[in-house]
Amino acid sequence: MDPSERFCVPGERLCSAEEATAGSGTYTRHGFIFSSLAGCVEKTSEESGLPVVSVVRDSDPQLLPDVGVVVTCKVCSINSRFAKVHILYIGSTPLKSIFRGTIRKEDIRATEKDKVEVYKSFRPGDIVLAKVISLGDSQSNYLLTTAENELGVVAAHSDAGMQMVPISWCEMQCPRTHTKEFRKVARVQPEFLQT
């Protein structure tokens, strides 16, 4: 362990707000920067302006779905108006507990929204990339959208149990039985492909 590392606990005063800008894991009050986590203090100096003070923990910070982030989710049920999903990953960080979300029919694709049918887009068990558009209101939980080319189904299984391969933006095919099934298929961006 590096002896020069400085650890802190929540509420510890790190420095004056004039000396640095508050980074992650900190908050500002009465002109001072305080730590809001128990962790290690890091100071990164920027080329221009003040250094950034932040407090980091070794374990991944507990992310929450926020508006605008891309999440990976699993479809758990569908009906004619929406699909219910479980959010599993935020970006590439796995969540410690699942959060439920909803993809409404009109948020499935960007064009010809009135012709969308949920069961031709998702099936329970599909893995879907989606973007959070709202934290929801009193009736619903997180609202998600797949109305972008990069968003939609990335992995799905056919009735025969094989993983299907996408053949167009709206169809996938089973490699064993060669049956075609409808899906709202995502054009997966290279940064999400790990192989």
């Binding site: 929540p10 128990a38 290690c40 410690k96 929801g136």
Partner: protein
């Protein structure tokens, strides 16, 4: 010889043994009112929980606490509650006493009296811990703190508050500050002085009891809960100052234990 279990040959009238129980203690040597009971605190003791802490007072009070980071909150029952949930997360506290926690007869875990006592303690814990959390960073979620009281030898709520704050900090949720709890009480005779961190016997005999919780870095009081035979505001103010001062003296212990836990976690990486 077979015994007839259906027939009891006890006396017709019976009384609870508590009536004849000798009043124990009472002749303890007077304590230095300024003295604090040694406190042992250790964070990150449970591997399954997101964060956890164990706090023990030298008299014997033992508290184990686990904290779980933001989880999906259940559907709020009303529109107003939902609007509040959208703005900030909710802290949920659960307080359990082990059936064998206190002296004397075993308490039945599910009984109404026991449940009420646990619920009161949980509510008090929640008011004490809520100000430490940056709940507006966790909309639509709940944070859970669960306290298990293993042994009750006085100052239970205070120990639970300290343990709860440690566990929350250890779980990595964003907080404004730690909370340090301290209990104090005063005996029935008018000349009695306030003593810090009373034991169970002292607490039972006390005329006035008070539990305070302090956010040391912000110098804010997050919990005050006291009751007893009346006193002037000045009396209470004096007790409060005394208790807060004790909290400041306890803070380094808690801070040190949290730093150690953070170091341990880093080394384990």
């Amino acid at each position: 010889m077979p015994v007839d279990h259906r027939r009891l040959c006890g006396p017709e009238e019976s009384h609870a043994p508590a009536l004849w129980a000798a009043e124990e203690g009472g002749d303890e040597s007077p304590r230095d009112p300024w003295a604090l009971r040694p406190l042992f605190a250790r964070a990150a003791v449970l591997s399954q929980a997101d964060g956890s802490a164990y706090v023990e007072l030298s008299g014997g009070t033992k508290v184990l606490c686990a904290a779980w980071g933001p989880r999906e909150a259940p559907e709020p029952p009303t529109a107003a509650a939902a609007a509040a949930a959208l703005r900030m997360g909710r802290l949920q506290c659960d307080f359990r006493r082990a059936p064998f926690a206190s002296r004397g007869a075993r308490r039945r875990p599910g009984s109404t009296a026991e449940r009420d006592a646990e619920r009161d303690l949980a509510a008090a814990l929640r008011t004490a811990l809520e100000p430490t959390l940056q709940l507006e960073r966790y909309p639509r979620t709940r944070l859970l703190v669960s306290v298990l009281l293993l042994q009750d030898e006085g100052s239970v709520l205070a120990a639970a508050i300290s343990a709860g704050a440690l566990a929350l900090a250890d779980s990595g949720v964003q907080m404004y500050d730690l909370a340090v709890g301290c209990a104090l009480c005063r005996g029935p005779d008018p000349s009695a002085a306030w003593v810090l961190q009373p034991g169970e016997a002292e607490e039972r005999r006390a005329a006035v009891r008070l539990t305070v919780a302090l956010l040391p870095a912000l110098n804010q009081v997050s919990a005050v809960q006291g009751a007893g035979s009346g006193g002037t505001p000045e009396d209470w103010a004096e007790a409060l100052c005394f208790g807060l001062d004790a909290c400041y003296r306890l803070y380094p212990v808690l801070r040190q234990s949290l730093l150690q836990a953070t170091c341990r976690r880093r080394r384990a990486m």
